[in-house]
Symmetry: C2
Subunit: 433 residues, 2 copies
C-alpha cells in the first residue's frame, strides 16, 4: 500500500510577458504559469506525484485555492484504492456535493481537478516505472474504460463503444509502439507566429524552423485584417505553398466576423482556423465550419473547451474538423481518454493543444497512446510544439526533425526542477523580487 | 464624484444541510452560502454597494479568492466613470488579459464577477435612491443597451435589436409599473418538494402553501423512478389537477435517461422538467425537448447556465421552453439584461431561478424590469420562491397571495444585517464554532 499523505500546491509563474512570447489577439501579455501540485507518499522510495495546470499569471492563486478545496478528495487515500476505483475517484473530485456548485466541471475548479488527477497518474506511472504513454498503452482495455466517467456522454459513446475501439487495436498496437520508438510523432510549431513579434523576427524564426525540419506553421490572427494579410503573406513567402499554414484567432471574433475575416485570408490557403469565436459556442463553430468548408478551411478548437460534454457536442454538430484537447483544461487523463475515444467514433483527428508551460511534456504521452490504441493513424494529426520553458523540467520533451520522441523516463514528464520551482514561485521567488 | 476606495469580501455560510433544506438529486447536503462583497466609498453618506454570489458551502473560499483577484478592476474607480463606460467596465472584469484564461466567463471567476457587478448596481441604485428595478425601468433604452457586452451574441441579438425591443415598450411601461405596484408579480414555490423531506412533511407543506395562495408547485425528482412516482402522486393528491406541477432533476440524468424517466412521469402532467441533464449540453436539451414536446412537457434550465453564449444556443436550438436565468451565475445585471432581451427575441419566457440565499431578493428586480420594458407579458412567467433565510436581509422580499411585491427601498435588496454577517461568517462566526 502506498498512502498519499500530503498535497502541496505551489504558484509558479514565469515572466514571459516581458518579451511577448505567447502573445495573441486575446492573450496580449501572458506570464506562463502553473498551479503546481505535489502528492507526497509514504512509499519507501519517497515517490511523489507531480501535476500542474497551465495558467497565464494573475489568477493562478485562485486555482491554487481550488486545489486546496479538493485536498480531502485525495489526501489519506492509498494509490491502490484510487486505482481500484478510478471512475469514482474522478467523480469524487468533479462532483463533491457542495463544491460542484462552482462548476460543474469547468473553470478554476476543473483546472484544479486536472492538476490533481495528472499528479495521480504521474505517481501511478512512477510506481510502475513506466512513462505514462506506455502505462496507458499496456493497460487492458477494460481497465482503461473503468477510468472513464461516461456521465453525460452516453448518447455519443457508451462503455461498450469504447471497449470495442480499444479491443480492435489490441492486435496491432505493438507494431505502432515500435514505430513510435523508431521515428517519433509528428509535430507543428507555433514559435514563429506570435502576434507581438516583428516581421523580421518572424522571417528569421521561419527560416530557422524550416532548417530544423518543420513543415507546419501556425500564425496568430484576428485583431486587424490588413495586418493579418501582410503577416500571412510574409509566412507564405518564407515557407512556400507545400508546407501547411494554420491560423489561430484565439476567440477574437463573433460568428459573422469569423466567416468574413477568414474569407479574406482564404487566398493564403490556411489548413485550419483555430478558435474562431467563443469556446462555448458549439452552434457558432458549426456555422463557421459550414461557411468555410467550401474554401477548404477546417475549424479547429479545444484549448478552452471546458469538458467532454462540450467536445461531444462539437463533434455531434460537425463543428470541428480538428479536435484540440487540452491536457489540463479537461479534468486530467481520465477525461482526456473519453474525448479521444469520442473523436475516434466521430472520425475527427485530435491535434492536441500545447505550448504554455508543461503542455508539450503532457500531450506527447496522450497522443502516443492515441496512436497505439485508439486512432491507429497519424493522418491529419500533429502535436503542437512551442520551444519555451522546457529547460525547467527534469524530463523535457525531445524533438528531432519535427517529431516528438517517445518519453522513456517513468511518469508524466511534468516534474519541474526544484531550483526552478523555488526561483519562479510567486510572489517570493527570486524571479519576482 | 464617488470613489470606490475599498472592496471587502466575506465568506458567509448557513448550516442548512442540518435539516436537508434544499436537498435534491445532486445537491444532497447544501449549506447555503455566499461570497459576499462590500464596496466602500468616499460618499458623504458612506454609501456602500453590497453584492453576493450564491454558493453551497465548501468552495466558497475559492470564489472569495476570485473576487480578490478582480479587486483592481474596481477599487480606485469612481462610480461616474464606471457608469459612463459600463460595457468596458464589465469587459474589464471578464476579459482581464491574464485571468481570462481561467474561464472565460464561467466557473468561480464568473461567480466572482457577478458578486462585484451586482454590488456596483446596488451602489448605483442607492446613489439614485431607487430600488434597482425602478432604476432599470427608468433608464433610457440607449443607456441600458450601452451596459451590455454583445460579444459572441451578435448572430442572435444586435444592439439595434435590443434598442428596438426596449423602445417598443416605452410608451406603455408606466401602466405596467402601476400594475406591479398594485398587484405584484406571480411566483411559484419550491418549499414543499425537497428530496430529503418525508411524505408527511411534504403533505403538510403543500396544504400550508395552498392556504397561502400558491398555485404552482415544484418537486425534485431523479434518483429513483418508483420514489418519484410515489411523490408526484402525493403532490397531485394534495394540489389537485388545476394547479401546475413542475419537476426538477438537477442534472441527474444522461439524455436517454431523461427522456425515459420523464415518459414515466408524464401521467402527472408536469408543466416542465427542469435541468434534465448536464447544463453544458445544449444539443442534449434539444433532444429531450423534442422527445417530450408531444407529451406536453417543456424543458426548463438555466441556474447552471454559465453565460449568455450558452443561453443563446439553448434558444437557437429550440432546447428550452422556459429560460431560468440566475442572477449571480451570469456575470451580474449587465449580462442578465442581454439574456432577457434574447429571450424576448426568441419568444422564450423567463422564469428566474431563486431560492438559495439572496436569490429571491435579486430576481424580483430583474423580472419586474422585464415585465415593464422587455417581455411586457406575464404569460407563462413566474418567479421561483423559497421561504428560507430571508430574515437575514435588511430589505427582504415581501410575498402576498403568491405574488412578489415590488421593492421600495433603494438598492438591489441584497444587503444582509451586520449581525447575520458576523454570526455566519466562515469559519470564525458563532454559527460555526
Amino acid at each position: 500500500m502506498t498512502l498519499i499523505k500530503d498535497l502541496v500546491v505551489r504558484d509558479i509563474r514565469f515572466p514571459t510577458s516581458k518579451h511577448l512570447d505567447g502573445s495573441d489577439a486575446v492573450n496580449v501579455d501572458p506570464d506562463y504559469s502553473a498551479a503546481y501540485v505535489i502528492l507526497k507518499t509514504d512509499h519507501p522510495q519517497n515517490l511523489e506525484g507531480h501535476g500542474l495546470t497551465f495558467t497565464c499569471g494573475r489568477g493562478t492563486e485562485v486555482v491554487c485555492a481550488a486545489v486546496n478545496a479538493l485536498r480531502k478528495q485525495v489526501v489519506g487515500k492509498s494509490l491502490e484504492e484510487i486505482r481500484a476505483e478510478m471512475r469514482n475517484f474522478w467523480r469524487g473530485l468533479t462532483c463533491e456535493s457542495q463544491i460542484r456548485w462552482l462548476g460543474p466541471e469547468k473553470g478554476a475548479l476543473h483546472l484544479a481537478t486536472a492538476a490533481i488527477v495528472n499528479a495521480v497518474w504521474d505517481l501511478i506511472a512512477k510506481a510502475e516505472a513506466k512513462p505514462l504513454w506506455r502505462l496507458l498503452v499496456e493497460m487492458p482495455p477494460e481497465d482503461l474504460v473503468a477510468c472513464i466517467d461516461f456521465r453525460y456522454i452516453t448518447d455519443a459513446l457508451t462503455p461498450e463503444d469504447a471497449l470495442a475501439i480499444l479491443r480492435a487495436n489490441e492486435p496491432t498496437k505493438a507494431a505502432r509502439m515500435a514505430e513510435l520508438e523508431a521515428r517519433g510523432y509528428p509535430a507543428y510549431t507555433t514559435s514563429a507566429g506570435w502576434l507581438g513579434y516583428s516581421d523580421e523576427k518572424m522571417r528569421r524564426l521561419c527560416r530557422e524552423a524550416i532548417a530544423a525540419g518543420w513543415n507546419h506553421f501556425k500564425i496568430k490572427v484576428g485583431r486587424d485584417l490588413a495586418d493579418d494579410i501582410r503577416r500571412c503573406r510574409i509566412i507564405r513567402e518564407e515557407i512556400g505553398w507545400e508546407r501547411k499554414l494554420m491560423t489561430d484567432a484565439n476567440q477574437y471574433w463573433d460568428v459573422g466576423e469569423a466567416i468574413a475575416h477568414m474569407k479574406q485570408l482564404a487566398e493564403f490557403k490556411p489548413w485550419w482556423i483555430e478558435e474562431p469565436t467563443s469556446p462555448d459556442d458549439v452552434l457558432g463553430h458549426a456555422a463557421v465550419a459550414r461557411a468555410l468548408a467550401p474554401l477548404g478551411i477546417g475549424v479547429a478548437t479545444g484549448e478552452h473547451c471546458q469538458n467532454r460534454v462540450v467536445f461531444k457536442q462539437l463533434m455531434q454538430a460537425g463543428a470541428i474538423r480538428f479536435c484540440q484537447i487540452d491536457s489540463c483544461r479537461l479534468g486530467g487523463v481520465n477525461e482526456v481518454l473519453s474525448v479521444y475515444l469520442m473523436a475516434k467514433k466521430f472520425g475527427v483527428p485530435v491535434c492536441p493543444h500545447a505550448g504554455g508551460v508543461g503542455l508539450c511534456e503532457y500531450v506527447q504521452h496522450l497522443q502516443m497512446w492515441d496512436y497505439c490504441c485508439v486512432s491507429a493513424s497519424k493522418q491529419d494529426r500533429l502535436v503542437e510544439f512551442v520551444d519555451h520553458l522546457h529547460e525547467h523540467f527534469l524530463d523535457p520533451v525531445r524533438v528531432r526533425d519535427g517529431h516528438y520522441l517517445p518519453p522513456t523516463q517513468p511518469g508524466y514528464s511534468i516534474q519541474m526542477k526544484p531550483a526552478s520551482l523555488d526561483e519562479y514561485e510567486f510572489p517570493h521567488g527570486k524571479a519576482w523580487k
